[in-house]
């Protein structure tokens, strides 16, 4: 008899509704998406004698560990099944929050890095890939929409994690003490939600398919019915093309997202409160784009939708200096909001693109290795915007300091477009034999 954590114990009985699975996946993503809102702790922790930059390092470590753990543990995730993985993710992520609380109590910066950055970051990687690959197995007819739902939950995690932390910190009196207690409560709340996801999750039985759905007899060139193992997939040119596609798409978006508040204040002289509103609006666009664009990709194909991201994205970036020249905040907000929908869409569409090319056999593990592109982009994008804007501010009016950055973003998107156009079907010699898959 299988242990209730094993994959075999999570196989759905006949008649199980697949619509019970997305809430389980979203619950886990919604919790680990808290990482996007980590910056709310920067200001209160200044009372510890730590600078905002010191605290920000924990966020960077967590994102780097997200990519690394997803890449390293991807095969284990596929073998162990979603329930064990989600619980492992819960243990790591919530321990990270608890250790962060202890780091504040004991004034130990290294513990913040080890707790939130390393242990919590490992939880992010485990929790990110497992629900996505499970949902794709339940929705072979609409894989883009399925991954969009889960990854939308990750974007939603920031919208919940930020205000939740702020309200809890205010309740506990603010400052480092408030943050310390808020983190304890958050660890408890997130543990409950992640356990809910882990207990609810199910995998489809072998050979299951949605009622009335048959795999297309006319196989589309970029959608395979065969499977490629993770050890082979990452050696193919297709994997590295998609790596560049994701890295460029994320670098272009994350640069704006990370600098949104100072950018709009410098370019349009708006108040800090309005700038905070702009950041909130971008987060909403990021969230909506995850579901919208990945669902569109089911209709027009993954390659087509990435061509839209890159071509439309480049055109929009080129128009940003024009909106600044007109002094139109409204146009600026519309343009950057649209760019951010495609940033979110890029995250949400990539798992379905991988499934199209490599099949569903080890797609979670392949996705895990591809996520290293995100870790790389998390370094490239903000650094590029930060350093260039600082340098430009010394030599030109502050409101024009960002213009050259937008043109560099166009260049990044052009590189992504080339990589996307180079994506071809995977050679049949890489397919695993049916018995293996």
């Amino acid at each position: 008899m299988p242990h209730f954590l094993d994959r075999a114990a999570t196989v759905a009985p006949p008649g199980f509704s697949r619509w019970l699975v997305p809430p389980a996946a979203i619950a886990v993503h919604m919790c680990i998406g808290q990482v996007y809102a980590f910056s709310v702790f920067k200001k209160p922790l200044e009372g510890q004698g730590w600078t905002q930059a010191d605290v920000g390092v924990a966020y960077s470590i967590a994102l780097a560990l997200l990519g690394l753990s997803a890449a390293v543990f991807g095969k284990w995730v596929e073998r162990s099944g979603p329930r064990k993985t989600m619980l492992a993710s819960m243990v790591c992520f919530c321990s990270g929050l608890l250790l962060t609380s202890l780091a504040i109590r004991w004034h130990q910066l290294w513990l913040l890095y080890a707790g939130y950055g390393v242990i919590g970051g490992a939880g992010l990687g485990l929790g990110y890939i497992s629900p996505v690959s499970t949902l794709m197995k339940w929705f072979p007819d609409r894989p883009g929409m399925a991954t969009g739902m889960a990854i939308m939950g990750f974007g939603g995690g920031a919208l919940i994690g930020g205000p939740l932390a702020e309200e809890l910190m205010a309740h506990f009196g603010g400052g480092p003490g408030g943050a310390q207690n808020a983190l304890l409560v958050m660890a408890a709340i997130y543990a409950v939600f992640m356990c809910f996801g882990a207990l609810l999750i199910r995998v489809p039985a072998e050979g299951w398919k949605p009622r009335g759905w048959e795999p297309s007899a006319h196989v589309k060139p970029l959608i395979t019915n065969a499977n490629v193992s993770v050890d082979t997939a990452w050696k193919t040119p297709q994997f590295w093309c998609l790596w560049v596609v994701l890295c460029m798409n994320v670098s272009a978006g994350i640069g704006i997202l990370g600098q949104a508040s100072p950018m709009i204040q410098d370019m349009f002289k708006v108040t800090p409160a309005a700038a905070a509103g702009f950041v909130g609006l971008l987060s909403l666009c990021n969230l909506g784009g995850r579901f919208f664009w990945s669902s569109i990709s089911d209709l027009i194909g993954r390659k087509g939708v990435y061509c839209i991201y890159f071509i439309l994205g480049a055109a929009l970036y080129m128009s940003v200096p024009w909106t600044q020249g007109r002094g139109s905040v409204t146009l600026f907000v519309i343009v950057t909001g649209l760019i951010l929908t495609m940033y979110g869409g890029g995250f949400a569409t990539i798992p379905a693109y991988l499934r199209d090319l490599f099949g569903s056999y080890q797609v979670g593990a392949i996705h895990g290795r591809l996520i290293t592109a995100w870790s790389m982009a998390a370094i490239i994008g903000p650094q590029l915007v930060d350093r260039l804007s600082q340098a430009n501010k010394k030599s030109m009016p502050v409101e024009q300091a960002y213009n050259s950055i937008f043109y560099i973003m166009v260049g990044l998107l052009a590189l992504g477009l080339i990589a996307n156009l180079l994506v071809k079907p995977v050679d049949a010699r890489h397919h695993v034999q049916p018995a293996k898959s």
């Binding site: 619509w19 019970l20 205000p163 370019m267 108040t271 002094g327």
Partner: protein, 41 residues
């Protein structure tokens, strides 16, 4: 019914987060930006 309840468990917190975010973004729409001093002619 079970499906509805499980969906509610994620929709309620998501809805709360979205409402908070919309509230936060309201000052942006009240912003009245002056024309930039050094706009290109």
């Amino acid at each position: 019914m079970k499906s509805l309840l499980t969906w509610l468990l994620v929709i309620v917190p998501l809805g709360w987060g979205i409402t908070k975010s919309v509230q936060k973004s309201l000052p942006l729409f009240r912003a009245d930006a002056p024309p930039p001093a050094a706009a290109p002619k």
